[in-house]
Symmetry: C2
Subunit: 207 residues, 2 copies
DNA sequence: CCAATTATGGACCAAGCGGTCCAGATAACT
DNA sequence: AGTTATCTGGACCGCTTGGTCCATAATTGG
């Protein structure tokens, strides 16, 4: 895929996922739950990557016919964007809860939450997409950038609840560290060795 | 592409790049320089990713006809593997030179060399490939794992030339940190902010 | 100069791709 | 019940993909 097939219906080009959750009225209602279907799509994208996921992979995992798929999401990119927005929101929600831990525990807990997910070595969906698509796809880049920014904000809040700005650089370092471990994990490094590495980075957390 | 098209000529499946540098003798000699051509391939893969690079992209960048291409490298994967081996060796060579700096400078110099390459935000070619392919391609995973292992070794050597083993975990943390910044960079974070983050991580380097 | 051997360009291929479209089924509202 | 709006399955489309093949050009050793 090279983005922009020659016959995309004119109209606006960017974030227009034509996912107008159809207000009730006459007409047959949707037979699928949107969140559920988007989660199925997430799983496929997550394990295969974007380019390597075909429409058939998607529709069969989501249990949708091609026409329902296109009516609801507009395109392969469209569903990706929807998936990413969902994913980002839910991931940030989970992390945010950890910032409420006491200040001595919060940063390390967040690190571990990111670096050692129990789901296995699939990495962070958004980080994967940044790696694969960001350089050539502005919208993905945008979502990715603000997602990482939020993560950094949360680290800063955890490091220094009084004045997060003071901890900006350390927060950035912790973000980088966490994200980096995902690649190590993906390359085969076992979880316990990653845990050791995190512990060795305690120096960053200390005031 | 899903790896393994139905009609790959039987034979062994894995690392057999049939790149028998043809010993001189009768017959027309190659009209291209292999390293040069591989470097061209590297550039294309690096900026596009593997799946998103087509045979036409490759052959035209390399200046090869399809037949020469297949005669020399066997397949798209084949040339990728050759490229990765070259890349890994040269990247490690560059890093290794930095380990010879005085111990107070070496680790930070290595960090900066990885995190702030002047070539722009394309990341590390091998890290990109791990993200995109490792989960489904054992050979790439293998190369990636040993590459990261070597980087870790170099960090350990820089941190504690006497007994690198003592610095294992810190070295791992530094690797993760360096690799993580590549994603931040790719998502749009400007270089100077990355430099600040690295400085904030000095705590890891200290004994 | 000839034979042997290899490289080269380009035509060619089947399969898979993302995306479109339509005929018919289905359900809500009047 | 009838109308209207929507959903659904699957046939279909043109294009691109990775890969093959062959006739021809080029270069060497004898």
């Amino acid at each position: 895929m090279r983005f922009m097939t020659k016959h995309t219906t004119a109209s606006s080009c960017s974030s227009e996922t034509r996912d107008r959750t159809p207000r009730p009225g006459p007409g047959r209602p949707r037979a699928f739950d949107e969140d559920q279907v988007l989660d199925a799509a997430l799983q496929v994208f997550w394990t295969n990557g974007f380019e390597a996921t075909s429409l058939d992979d998607l529709t069969s995992a989501m249990g949708l016919s091609r026409s329902s798929f296109y009516a609801a999401f507009g395109s392969k990119q469209g569903v990706l964007m929807a998936v990413l927005r969902n994913y980002s929101a839910s991931a940030l929600r989970q992390l945010d809860e950890l910032t409420r831990l006491p200040r001595e525990e919060a940063p390390m807990a967040m690190l571990e939450a990111i670096s050692l997910p129990k789901e296995g070595p699939r990495g962070c969906m958004l980080v994967n997409c940044i790696a694969e698509l960001a350089p050539h796809h502005a919208e993905v880049a945008e979502i990715g950038r603000t997602h990482l920014q939020r993560i950094e904000d949360l680290f800063a809040k955890a490091l220094d609840p009084q004045d997060p700005e003071r901890a900006r650089d350390k927060a950035r370092a912790l973000s980088a560290l966490a994200i980096g471990t995902l690649t190590l994990r993906k390359s085969g490094l076992p979880p316990d060795q990653i845990a050791h590495a995190l512990a060795a980075a305690r120096g960053i957390v200390a005031p």
